[in-house]
């Protein structure tokens, strides 16, 4: 029955293909199709999670055994992200009804299918295909908002992402020329003897830059604030919260399974440091909420990249904890930005008109900064202890930058939070009514807030669970043995 897992990718694609036609014959059916498919996907993934199937498992698509065909690799981490994709897709579903609904929903389904594929696929080129699908669907969805700025931002993103995909393709070509395989497990087997050389490093750097475009890696992240400022908030939340983490997941897999060179890790560390500092500084100067969120997301992903460069299991734990935390908090914040997008000055003394929203903002900010009882603290605490225990100078710089970034983050987040709770001044210049978050978005944001609080309460079992996931992800032999059972000396 595990074979049915592929439905989480196939059904959204099927739905996307049929949606434009279906919408023309029966609007009601068309409107329900997407949420229905996603709910089914959530159900499918959660039953697998709850059943006693021993993870990880590997599914061969088309019945062709892995190194020849493509396989889906399902471990706890992949399953977690796949589930997050389907659930978040449901929450961020574009319900807006107009003449473009069919196309927009079809694109959203494609985006979700591709994102699920990114979480599950165990084949390098297949990952590239899904990565491109994510990109193209994103372009369509951002441009669908129809403003001139959205078109310009999309074009700039498209060019950057095009450069990225050329790089990634080049990296794949180099890898293939060296090893003759594309399967991640097979590559992991061959890597120690074939890729531990300058060529392997070059291939990794190319793929890092290529995939880093979506992960908001330092030199290729100029798209993020523009896109988040022009796309709808739900979509921005999906992109910033989830898609960036999925790109990160690919980089993580590549780093763990295939590229063990110390240089690769150092490059990631340096880029992470640069990303963290530049992102937070830019966020500090930003004058509108959405761009501020975009820049701060660059900064926080920089921190995640710093964590990614840590060598052992606890570093990986920090990566996973930070990513999941950022996923919840940033998506929640973007949900709030649904109504509050725009100049930060408009948020002045907003707490008096919408107390719930302001409270949520403060909650998210506290967790983002790392206030002790909240989950953000534990994630950051793991990172700090781990960074401090390294004795290489570069890691110390990383630690300093991380602390500095946290200070900057605190200063700008609480500048805003402070202004929210200001006494409503008699401001004649602002005659416009105070911005209001739509009820749906507020509900969604509240859900994220509850998730955060629940995580605070159950931090101990959660930490243990994440520890187990990190151990499982770190285990290269487990990955190889899952994909190639029985064979010990290699698949071919």
């Amino acid at each position: 029955m595990n074979n049915a897992l592929v439905l989480t990718i196939a059904l959204p694609l099927l739905g996307a293909f049929l949606l434009p036609v279906l919408m023309r014959t029966s609007t009601a059916l068309g409107l329900w199709l997407g949420p229905l498919i996603l709910s089914y996907g959530c159900w499918l993934l959660s039953t697998l999670w709850l059943s006693d199937t021993s993870l990880p498992i590997s599914l061969a698509i088309g019945g062709f055994a892995p190194p020849l065909g493509i396989n889906l690799y399902v471990d706890s981490l992949a399953l977690l992200f796949a589930f997050a994709v389907q659930l978040l897709g449901l929450i961020c579903w574009p319900f807006k009804l107009d003449q473009d609904t069919a196309h927009r929903q079809a694109l959203m389904l494609l985006l979700i299918a591709a994102a699920t594929g990114l979480a599950l696929s165990g084949d390098l080129f297949n990952l590239y295909v899904f990565y491109e699908l994510v990109a193209v669907a994103t372009f369509g969805l951002v441009a669908a908002s129809g403003t001139s700025a959205a078109y310009a931002a999309t074009f700039r993103y498209l060019i950057l992402s095009g450069i990225g995909s050329v790089m990634a393709l080049l990296g794949i070509a180099l890898l293939y020329s060296q090893t003759g395989t594309l399967n991640l497990a097979h590559l992991a087997q061959l890597a120690p003897e074939k890729l531990n050389n300058p060529l392997g490093l070059t291939a990794f750097l190319l793929m890092l830059i290529g995939i880093g475009v979506k992960a908001e890696l330092f030199p290729v992240n100029s798209w993020a604030p523009e896109i988040y400022a022009t796309a709808s908030s739900k979509l921005s939340g999906f992109l910033a919260g989830l898609v960036s983490k999925l790109a990160l997941l690919i980089i993580l897999r590549l780093l763990i399974l295939i590229f063990h060179q110390p240089e690769a890790v150092q490059v990631i560390l340096v880029l992470g440091i640069l990303g963290a500092i530049s992102g937070e500084l830019a966020a500090w100067r930003a004058k509108d909420l959405r761009r501020m969120l975009g820049f701060s997301s660059i900064g926080q992903l920089g921190v995640v990249f710093i964590a990614l460069s840590l060598p052992d299991e606890r570093g990986l734990l920090a990566v996973i904890a930070l990513s999941l935390h950022h996923l919840i908090v940033k998506t929640g914040l973007f949900m709030l930005a649904d109504g509050w997008g725009g100049s930060l000055q408009r948020l002045c003394s907003i707490a008096h008109t919408s107390p719930l929203g302001a409270a949520l903002f403060v909650l998210f900010s506290l967790s983002l900064v790392g206030m002790p009882p909240l989950p953000g603290f534990w994630a950051k605490f793991t990172l700090i202890t781990e960074l401090a225990s390294q004795n290489e100078p570069l890691y110390l710089i990383g630690l300093l930058v991380f602390l500095l970034a946290t200070v900057i983050e605190t200063s700008y987040l609480f500048r805003i939070a402070g202004s929210m709770y200001q006494k409503p001044a008699i401001d004649t210049a602002r005659s416009a009514p105070p911005p209001k978050v739509s009820d749906f978005s507020l509900t969604a944001a509240t859900l994220f807030g509850f998730a955060l609080l629940a995580a605070t309460l159950f931090i101990a079992p959660l930490g243990d669970g994440l520890q187990a996931i990190a151990a499982e992800t770190q285990n290269i032999d487990l990955y190889i043995n899952t994909v190639f059972p029985a064979t010990s000396g290699g698949p071919l």
């Binding site: 293909f17 088309g62 020849l68 065909g69 694109l107 193209v136 071919l492």
Partner: protein, 228 residues
């Protein structure tokens, strides 16, 4: 400043790639997977063209993803370039040669397109190439006659069902307890037109989907500038 960064980046990349050139064993690639596929493809898929076996069999889901990308691009272009206009044709009237040549070429292109699609498992060619030719066949009248327009409802119907049938063929295998996109049906003799099981059907779906997708893309781009 930006120019300099770009140049430095491109130059650095080029240098890096040239520097590692000696490490690549050209002309004698490892081909671990390639060799294994070559020896097992005839039995597993029954297609004489091994590239087809790989495209539709071993890496079938890649092809599905690619179709989805084309679909995403076409519907995004549709979203961006606005709703379908009544006149989707060129501003200028095509000349005599274009007009009549177009009419003459249409059945010819159609035949060639389908020929290439149906022989994709035997000879070079297949759904993508045939699909492009089909798209050209349907686009040609637009260039030749100013008033002509594509049957958009028809086009999106083909588009939807071709894409859906690719997935449904895959799901049919899943229903029978096999893996998604597993080739089914008799393979017959290698090299026959009716061989390779479901592969030709998949290629037909690919060809129709690609053709419809590209035709609608082209017609969107060829719209008259009425809204300018």
């Amino acid at each position: 400043m930006r120019n300099l960064t770009g140049l430095l980046f491109a130059g650095g990349l080029g240098f890096m790639l040239l520097a590692i050139a000696s490490g690549i064993n050209f002309g004698n690639p490892a081909m671990l997977v390639g060799k294994a596929i070559q020896s097992s493809a005839p039995e597993q898929t029954g297609a004489a063209n091994i590239v087809t076996s790989v495209v539709l069999g071993y890496r079938g889901i890649d092809t599905l993803g690619e179709l989805s990308i084309l679909f995403a691009a076409a519907s995004a272009a549709g979203l961006i370039l606005g709703r379908r206009h009544t006149t989707a044709g060129t501003m200028t009237k095509g000349g005599f040669v274009l007009h009549h040549g177009g009419a003459l070429l249409f059945p010819l292109l159609l035949t060639i397109g389908f020929y290439i699609i149906f022989h994709g498992h035997l000879t070079p060619g297949g759904g993508f190439q045939g699909g492009v030719i089909l798209a050209a066949a349907f686009f040609l009248p637009l260039l030749a006659r100013p008033g002509a327009r594509l049957h958009h409802a028809m086009l999106s119907l083909i588009e939807a069902f071709a894409g859906a049938s690719f997935i449904l063929i895959g799901l049919a295998a899943l229903m029978q307890g096999e893996a998604f996109l597993q080739p089914m049906m008799d393979q017959h003799t290698l090299g026959q037109l009716f061989s390779a099981g479901t592969l030709p059907l998949l290629y037909l779906a690919v060809g129709l989907k690609v053709g419809a997708e590209l035709a609608s893309l082209l017609s969107h781009l060829a719209q008259t500038e009425s809204e300018l």
